[in-house]
């Protein structure tokens, strides 16, 4: 399968592990990623607060380039995905909006190129028996709290998974031998939008609830599909721990990192050594278990 690849701004900076691991596993799974040349900002967090048309037009340009190449777009970041999906839907729903957007971006976008979440694409690509041969290491011992965040499976009308109790990431990890916990915070807000606001204590208390819920559910790590969630859960975990004088010690993974680990890719190539909450002890534990529990 070949997809246009829209990494978005985070994946070359704070979310670089997501980009590294995505490209690595795509190679193994036979997914060809063609990075959209000269891609632009998706407009998340600023454009859609400023101007509705601007928010729809920004992703439209990226989608238009993909459409010219005849490809659907694979989007790792949940925010980029949500904005691009909104554009795709708007163009398909209204001829008038389609015309307006095409005028703004001075390109043709007919709504044929679809915005697709990377989680959905990877989930599809591992279906069938062929994947069993590719698994090098079973992720036994991982008790993952899958954290989908607020954007990935919303709004309900366009969601590729259940918006209240999504399962796609859980099912993906089960396939590679990890356990996932049943918990109620899968689609809660991670507080990312409060990170930059004047009231950081709101974001901190939101994060605290997530960590406690994950621990209560028996998880030993969090798994996400969003660079903003990762930022908050991973980078700010120490801050939250300090604020409440406690320790959670919950490593946070991108689902792509865990898939890569199971496919036998070296941890450093996946960026697993780049985390704020040290993920390597847990990774090492998985690798050491019965000599890696060869699958």
């Amino acid at each position: 399968m070949k997809y246009a690849y829209y990494p978005g701004c985070s994946l070359s900076s704070t979310g670089i592990e997501y980009d590294m691991s995505t490209r690595e596993i795509a190679k193994v799974l036979g997914i060809e990623l063609w990075e959209i040349p000269e891609w632009n900002c998706c407009g998340a967090s600023s454009a859609h607060l400023t101007d509705h048309l601007l928010a729809l037009a920004l992703p439209a340009r990226n989608l238009a380039i993909a459409e010219e190449a005849g490809l659907d777009v694979a989007i790792p970041c949940a925010a980029c995905y949500a904005r691009s999906k909104a554009t795709e839907v708007a163009v398909n729903e209204s001829e008038e909006m389609k015309k307006t957007i095409q005028e703004v971006i001075e390109r043709k976008y007919e709504g044929k190129s679809k915005a697709r979440a990377l989680l959905e694409i990877i989930g599809e690509s591992v279906q069938g028996d062929h994947i069993k041969e590719r698994i090098h290491i079973l992720l036994t011992g991982l008790k993952a709290a899958c954290y989908y965040g607020c954007l990935l499976v919303r709004p309900a009308s366009t969601a590729f998974d259940d918006p209240e109790d999504p399962q796609s990431m859980d099912q993906l990890l089960h396939l590679f031998g990890a356990e996932t916990v049943d918990w109620s915070y899968k689609t809660e807000c991670c507080g990312a939008s409060h990170e930059t606001s004047a009231k950081p204590e709101i974001g901190i208390s939101i994060l605290q609830k997530i960590f406690i819920a994950a621990q209560n559910a028996g998880a030993n790590c969090l798994v996400t599909a969003c660079p903003l969630c990762m930022n908050n859960l991973d980078m700010r975990q120490i801050e939250v721990e300090k604020y409440f004088s406690t320790k959670y010690n919950l490593p946070v993974f991108y689902f792509t990192e865990l898939v890569g680990l199971a496919l036998g890719i070296e941890p450093s190539k996946l960026g697993l050594n780049k985390h704020f909450v040290d993920a390597m002890p847990l990774v090492q534990e998985v690798l050491n278990r019965k000599g890696g529990e060869q699958a």
Partner: protein, 660 residues
């Protein structure tokens, strides 16, 4: 010689406010065959009808066109009027210049007048081709069938039986009583449901005019008004009803335990069981899906212990066919399955229950003897959250309609909880409070002021477990801020929905149902208990969400309608039915499939053609069943089936009058 009279009605200002009625009457004078034309303020009034009668005599009119309202409104009025003047009633033709003209074109006086003239021109063209039609009579069987033995069915049956008619109640469960038997207390008076229902159940069982057919279902409905031939399947009870004394020893010793349907999974029952101790008839059935004897051929304990020898494993389903004059459908409702609500836990949290489950938990005859304890750990709940509109008024996941009863039963639940557990807190999340019944608003007031229920206006966005509590998160839209309640128990006021097989039963009987599978009444205001199928009436929540007072009122209304039918030995039938031209009918059967009333059948004709005896199939119409909808006439490929009073010739004459 056809001599047409045209009578244009002003309907006060309803028509004349838009249409120039005098101009219409004047224009009509020039139409072919029109001998007389006049306009008047109220044609349907006594002087208006007198005017028509007089004109018929003076001008020797033999066809009448009334340009007024919808024929649904006053066609019978004018038919009776001309009949009194000595004409066949089907010589009247209505031109609807109110609903079809003045009301829909209020701002286009000129155009509306022109359209009214056209409508009259068409009616005149049809009237001259109208044929005299005769009503016929059919006999009426004085016996009624009530389908469903809940409160609506019981009330309808009692009313009919007291009026002297024989009634059969068919109930598919082993006992009559329905949903009301599960309820603890009833709003707005808080009298105990069982105390007002069970005496009626006993009355129904003991009434000489009522036969109970429990554990039975409708298999097939044939026939028509006055003469419905209904096949009823009496499911094998595995108990000889005439021998069983109802002692209950069999139920005590049966080794199989399964979830009780009546207790909604909150308690167990045996494989041989009665749904509840006050069941009527109070004789058990064997649930063959779970009975060890039926599954493995061993056990037989109930048979060995029965002192009367009433257990009979060899019983078979029996089919019974009876003729009824009228049918009352009172099949009730089901509760919305809230497991589509992920935010409320998909039905996974044991301490999130439905309102009906709560009725069982607080009921003195329920699994806890009325002691309120939550299902998970049997602890007494202190903080209780009630959520209204779960599945109602929610097009995204549930139904678009309001279930009408939930605001009130939630207020009742809150009052009952506060009454039993004095130090409890009850929170009701609501969208709007709807309390339109007599004494309902006062009841709601009491639940707040006397019982201290706390009402929070807003939707609940999420329920999730935390330790042994349930965190209920929502928005208080009056304060515009999020709220969280730590609850021990959450009660969902789930929507009332149609029975899951409501559509199948409707198809068997030949009645209509709406997008939500509730049965459709003939007219929402003027015929609320009738259906479009003559002789079939509706009672209770099968027609739409209803509380007990409304169900009982509608049941009595349906019974009164059925009495009106059954009290006469024969009835007149409408002659506007279809007829088959057997010469050209090819017997293809397309009309059979299209007929919504199952009024068409195929019959075999034996003919002599060129010296040979030939058999062929042709369609035949049962005039008792045909409602004159005309669907078959357009489906017929060879044009061999036509509707009297609306023949192709008559319709084409109208079209020609308009277009040529």
């Amino acid at each position: 010689m056809k001599r047409v009279g045209v009578f244009v009605c002003h309907c006060g200002t309803n028509i004349s406010g838009t249409v120039d009625c005098a101009q219409v009457a004047e224009a009509a004078k020039d139409f072919p065959n029109v001998e007389y034309s006049i306009d008047y303020k109220y044609m349907c009034s006594e002087p208006g009808q007198e005017m028509i009668k007089k004109a018929i005599e003076e001008h020797k009119l033999n066809r009448i066109v009334v340009a007024s309202c919808s024929p649904r409104m006053h066609e019978p009025t004018f038919q009776n009027c001309v009949e009194r003047a000595g004409l066949n009633p089907y010589y009247v033709e209505m031109a609807n210049i109110r609903e079809h003209c003045s009301w829909v074109h209020p701002n286009e006086k000129e155009g509306a007048t022109e359209k009214a003239i056209d409508l009259v021109r068409m009616a005149v063209a049809k009237a001259v081709r109208n044929q005299p039609l005769q009503k016929t009579t059919i006999p009426v069987t004085d016996r009624a069938l009530v389908i469903g033995g809940g409160i609506a069915g019981i009330q309808a049956a009692l009313d009919l039986a007291n009026a002297g008619h024989v009634v059969d109640i068919v109930e598919r469960e082993p006992s009559i009583g329905g949903k009301m038997a599960q309820i603890d207390k009833t709003f707005p008076t808080l009298d105990c449901s069982a105390c007002i229902l069970t005496p009626k159940m006993v009355d129904a069982a003991a009434h000489p005019n009522i036969n109970l057919l429990t554990y039975s279902e409708i298999e097939k409905v044939d026939g028509f008004v006055g003469n419905f031939d209904v096949t009823i399947r009496q499911k094998a009870r595995s108990i000889k009803m005439d021998v069983c004394t109802g002692c209950g020893i069999c139920m005590e010793k049966c080794p199989v335990k399964v979830d009780s349907e009546f207790e909604l999974g909150l308690a167990k029952r045996r494989a041989i069981y009665t749904p509840f101790p006050q069941a009527i008839p109070n004789k058990p059935v064997i649930d063959r899906e779970h009975c060890t004897y039926f599954l493995r051929g061993k056990c037989g304990i109930c048979s060995k212990l029965c002192p009367a020898g009433a257990v009979d494993y060899t019983q078979q389903d029996e089919l019974l066919t009876r003729r009824y004059g009228a049918i009352i459908v009172a099949t009730g409702f089901e509760l919305f399955d809230y497991s589509v609500y992920g935010e409320y836990g998909y039905g996974k949290y044991p301490d999130v229950i439905t309102g009906l489950q709560f009725e069982r938990l607080i009921n003195a005859s329920g699994p806890t003897m009325g002691k309120l304890q939550r299902p998970s750990d049997k602890k007494e709940p202190k903080n209780i959250v009630i959520i209204n509109c779960v599945g109602s008024r929610d097009e995204a996941k549930g139904k678009s309609y309001c279930s009408r009863t939930c605001c009130m039963y939630s207020a009742k639940h809150a009052s009952l909880i506060r009454d039993k557990i004095k130090d409890s807190n009850v929170y009701v999340f609501y969208m709007d409070m709807r309390t339109p019944g007599k004494g309902y608003e006062e009841f709601y007031d009491r639940s707040r002021e006397q019982y201290g229920t706390q009402y929070i206006r807003g939707r609940v966005s999420k329920i999730y477990p935390l330790n042994d509590k349930l965190i209920v998160r929502g928005e208080d839209t009056l304060l515009s801020q999020p709220v969280e309640v730590e609850a021990d128990l959450v009660i969902l006021a789930t929507a009332m929905v149609a029975q899951p097989d409501a559509d199948k039963l409707a198809q068997k009987i030949g009645i209509g149902y709406d997008k939500d599978n509730f049965y459709t009444e003939a007219h929402p205001k003027l015929a609320p208990v009738e259906t479009h199928t003559q002789g079939v009436y509706l009672a209770g929540a099968c027609q739409g969400p209803k509380d007990i007072p409304d169900s009982v009122a509608q049941a009595s209304a349906a019974a009164a309608k059925a009495c009106g039918l059954l009290s006469k030995p024969e009835i007149l039938t409408e002659p506007i039915v279809t007829e088959v031209d057997e010469k050209t009918c090819a017997g293809c059967g397309t009309c059979l499939l299209i007929c919504p009333y199952k009024a068409i059948d195929l019959k075999t004709l034996t003919e002599r053609i060129a010296g040979e005896i030939v058999e062929r199939k042709v369609a035949t119409v049962n005039e008792g069943l045909c409602q004159g909808c005309g669907a078959c006439t357009v489906a017929c490929r060879s044009g061999s089936i036509y509707l009297k009073h609306y023949t192709d010739e008559q319709i084409l004459a109208e079209v020609n009058a308009l277009c040529l």
